[in-house]
């Protein structure tokens, strides 16, 4: 279905070395200082473990759409020694710039590896932690003509300083061959999202999108049993409690735009028309596949499923967000009621405050999200018989993988036998 690339990776690589596209002075570095302040900010009783680190590379790659088409993407990857290593890691004692071998720094050759993943690595962090997020711009292998800088925009981060907002139009972006470390003091729990903000229409349509969420301090045992193992927010009364969490991010691709980008053609902004509606970077039924999905290079670029399994009677927290670049999508759970308990990474109480005078939670069967919107939704399976249920867009034409029917923005929630 898709056009074959004109060059093999090897020949491109050779070409790049000849041209010296990756600057000879490329210098990647990760800042991940140890926590030495002697204060326990994350509330777990350990004064030395509040710092957490993430190292992302920004580059390009390919993914396999649910109808088998190969799609060129820009994207982030967790740049660790292995994909299986946790995205979020703790600093090495005593080192503010850990040695490359310990955290998988890309070398100049290693960066150009079509290693982008989609969606970007999910970042799960906790309130009270201090996040050092390093972005290394490894360049775009398939587009040696591009020298695009990149950023990470931590979407929704409260009271952000513009230097760490990831907005190239207001501050800085990192050039190819270098690293930039962002710092975030995580004081607000909630469901956020992140994406590159450089030439946002292009870089976001191309796939530089991911989930990030901050778990509340209430998740830690503090002597108060509010009835659930985990909570969406510091609700104080357990009303946002859940057993199973699932981040579910809405994505959608326009195949013509991706092909034009791969083939170095003019980009159709005005004609941008998304034809691959997805959850977490996959169309149905790939959303149900618990395994990683390998692309045409046999590289596992799609690491995230959207299957939800929950014992009957338990609650699911759906961390629903949208980073679609064209359209709104309405997402329905027709059988299991959706109770919206948060939005915009705030508890749904008066003014978004945990001590707000009114609980504004509401129950419905569908929510509508434009790009950049997020909602925290509880699915309570108390009255739901065991079985397979569906979460899908009611913009029903989007139950398609481009020209393939019975696909698109849909996933399943399996209500299993009640836990003993």
């Amino acid at each position: 279905m898709r056009h074959h690339r004109a060059f093999s990776i090897i020949s491109i690589l050779a070409l790049l070395f000849c041209l010296g596209v990756m600057p000879a002075w490329a210098e990647f570095s990760v800042q991940c200082p140890p926590d030495v302040d002697g204060i326990d900010t994350d509330g777990d009783g350990d004064v030395n473990n509040d710092h957490v680190c993430v190292h992302l590379s920004s580059g390009d790659g390919f993914i396999k759409m649910a109808d088998g088409r190969d799609s060129y993407i820009f994207g982030f990857a967790s740049h660790r020694l292995a994909n299986s290593d946790p995205v979020v890691f703790q600093p090495e004692p005593g080192e503010s710039r850990p040695p490359a071998e310990s955290i998988g720094l890309p070398t100049s050759e290693g960066g150009l590896n079509l290693g982008a993943t989609f969606p970007a690595p999910t970042i799960e962090v906790r309130e009270g932690q201090k996040l050092y997020l390093t972005l290394s711009n490894v360049g775009m292998l398939m587009r040696p003509d591009l020298f695009d800088p990149h950023t990470v925009h931590y979407h929704g981060f409260p009271n952000v300083a513009s230097i760490f907002d990831g907005l190239p139009d207001s501050a800085i972006s990192i050039n190819m061959g270098f690293s930039l470390t962002y710092f975030y003091n995580l004081v607000e729990p909630g469901t956020f999202m992140y994406h590159c903000h450089v030439e946002a229409t292009e870089h976001m349509q191309m796939g530089m999108l991911g989930n990030i969420y901050v778990r509340p301090m209430q998740d830690l045992t503090d002597g108060t049993d509010l009835g659930y193992p985990s909570y969406a927010y510091n609700d104080g009364d357990g009303t946002t409690g859940y057993h199973v969490a699932k981040p579910l991010q809405i994505h959608s691709f326009d195949p013509n735009f991706h092909d034009a980008n791969e083939l170095v053609q003019p980009l159709p902004f005005a004609l941008m028309h998304d034809r691959y509606p997805m959850f977490n970077g996959r169309g149905y039924p790939d959303t149900l596949n618990p395994d990683n999905i390998a692309n045409q290079e046999l590289y596992e670029a799609q690491l995230m499923d959207s299957i939800i399994e929950v014992p009957q009677g338990e609650r699911v927290l759906l961390r629903l967000s949208s980073l679609a670049t064209v359209d709104f999508y309405t997402v329905a759970s027709p059988s299991i009621p959706m109770t919206v308990v948060g939005q915009g990474a705030r508890i749904l109480r008066t003014a978004g405050e945990t001590d707000g005078v009114q609980d504004l939670f509401y129950t419905t069967h569908s929510v509508t999200l434009g790009g950049g919107e997020a909602k925290d939704i509880l699915l309570d399976t108390t009255d739901i018989p065991e079985g397979t249920y569906f979460i899908y867009t009611t913009n029903l034409n989007n139950l398609s993988n481009d020209q393939e029917d019975y696909g698109g923005m849909m996933t399943e929630i399996v209500v299993q036998a009640a836990a003993l």
Binding site: E27, Q31, P33, Y132, H155, G156, P158, N159, V160, A161, S162, I163, D165, L167, P168, D169, S170, A171, I172, S173, I174, N175, F178, S179, Y182, F183, Y184, N185, E199, A200, T201, M204, Q265, P266, L267, P268, F269, A270, L271, M272, A324, T325, V326, F328, G344, A345, R346, L348, T350, A351, G352, E353, V357, Q358, L360, T368, L369, G370, G371, G372
Partner: protein, 438 residues
């Protein structure tokens, strides 16, 4: 009906720089331009041309204020229509003259009383016949809030063509959007969001009305207050945008409250994202989100508020820099004397240490050769700071403010008919405390 005019991708930094170089970007402000202190208006509905962000010219139909009042373009059709600012309980009279080639009218959703007279009894209201027809609307708003007005005749065409505007109805208490302390603000701004398919406008211009099929509409322009980015950043009433008087570049200082009045004026919804912080949405359709009418106890917080056509939202925005983990003024650790009023307020509100006063920035920024800079970057991560940047970089951030993009997060809408960047985007500026704001 989709056209592609041309394919181009411009480097955002270059475009912004180039444009602003010529424009001499203004000081920014935080007030709403409009017709204030007047309650009788003579409007003419007529054609004009707008200039889009990438330099195209498009025919539009707009309302012209013939009264010569400050806050509008006297006698000139404008996009959007004049913003009308009145007080709750007041009645306004609009005498509408029609210079369009078809009948037209005005609707005032949310108004308490509308008395309409005109040449023709239309479907929704009395209309002014084409060819100099007239209509008159006497409209009363008893409740404060943000409202919109637009054509009630051939609406799908005429609203698309530009016959839409906003009405701000003030409460009886200065500095409060509603009769509630929860709606208090220091500054206010109005963002009327619209979208446009220029192909329809071209067909109107050439009189090819029978070729117009509005079911095939495909917007490729997106506007805030009638301007595409980056024109949104220019001063209001700049001479080279003679039919687009209103800008959208609010400024506040740390800890100040900005009232953001959002109006859906087009035909599509837009998820509007505020960089910098969440907004606290206190009202929809000019009704305080309240159970008791006195407190905004149903207000909610969000980082993106979707605004659909016909909707209005009022929201409060503030930026305190609380709990940043480092001192965004770059104060030296021992320099406790320099704690600003806002930092003191943060300490009081969120506890000792919440201002992060005196804490150093926790990371080392890359060397300038490793970075690409925005023209709005001061050269320093600190508020009010500044530093040397390579020649040609930065330069548009006179006060060392923090710039936050406020924009549609359906990112396709950050383009002007195939050209990135542009569309529905502007900035909020957090200025240093020492800066005076109009």
């Amino acid at each position: 009906m989709m056209y592609i005019k041309n394919f181009r991708k411009l480097n955002s930094v270059l475009l912004l720089s180039a444009l602003l170089m010529f424009a001499g970007m203004g000081t920014g402000q935080a007030k709403i331009d409009g017709l204030e202190g007047v309650t009788t208006f003579n409007f003419t509905a007529k054609a004009g041309h707008i200039t889009t962000g990438e330099g195209n010219t498009v025919l539009f139909w707009g309302y012209a204020d013939d009264g010569g009042h400050q806050g509008s373009l006297s006698g000139q059709a404008q996009y959007p229509g004049p913003t009308i600012i009145i007080n709750a309980g007041e009645s306004i009279t609009i005498n509408l003259t029609n210079h369009l080639p078809q009948a037209t009218s005005m609707l005032f959703p949310g108004a308490d009383v509308v008395n309409a007279t005109g040449n023709i009894a239309g479907t929704l209201t009395m209309e002014a016949a084409f060819a100099n027809g007239t209509a008159q609307y006497q409209v009363t708003y008893n409740q404060p809030g943000t409202y919109t007005y637009y054509s009630g005749t051939n609406m799908d065409l005429q609203v698309e063509m530009g016959l839409v505007g906003a009405i701000v109805v003030r409460s009886g208490t200065a500095g409060q959007a509603y009769d509630s302390a929860d709606s208090s603000y220091d500054y206010e701004t109005l963002f009327l969001l619209t979208d446009m398919d220029p192909v329809i406008h071209d067909l109107v211009e050439f009189g090819r009305f029978d070729e117009i099929d509005l079911t095939k509409r495909n917007a490729v322009y997106w506007f805030i207050n009638g301007r595409n980015g980056p024109d949104t950043l220019l001063d209001p009433f700049v001479s080279w945008l003679p039919t687009q008087p209103y800008n959208s570049l609010p400024r506040i200082r740390p800890c100040e409250n900005l009232l953001l009045r959002l109006v859906g004026g087009g035909l599509d919804g837009h998820p509007f994202h505020t960089h910098g912080n969440n907004i606290n949405v206190i009202a929809k359709d000019a009704r305080l989100l309240s159970t008791d009418g006195a407190t905004a106890d149903l207000a909610f917080s969000d980082f993106t508020q979707s605004v659909y056509p016909g909707e209005t939202y009022d929201a409060l925005f503030t930026w305190t820099g609380a709990n940043m983990g480092w001192d965004y003024y770059g104060h030296a650790t021992e320099d406790v004397e320099t704690m600003t009023a806002c930092e003191q307020q943060v300490e009081a509100d969120f506890g000792p240490g919440a201002s992060s006063h005196g804490l150093p920035i926790p990371v080392t920024l890359p060397a300038i050769s490793e970075l690409t800079f925005s023209p709005f970057y001061s050269g320093s991560p600190y508020l009010g700071g500044g530093s040397f940047l390579p020649p040609g970089e930065g330069g548009f951030n006179q006060n060392g403010g923090f710039y936050y993009m406020w924009h549609s997060h359906n990112e396709k809408e950050l383009t002007n008919w195939d050209i990135f960047p542009g569309g529905m985007l502007t900035f909020l500026i957090i200025e240093p405390p020492s800066v005076t704001i109009e």
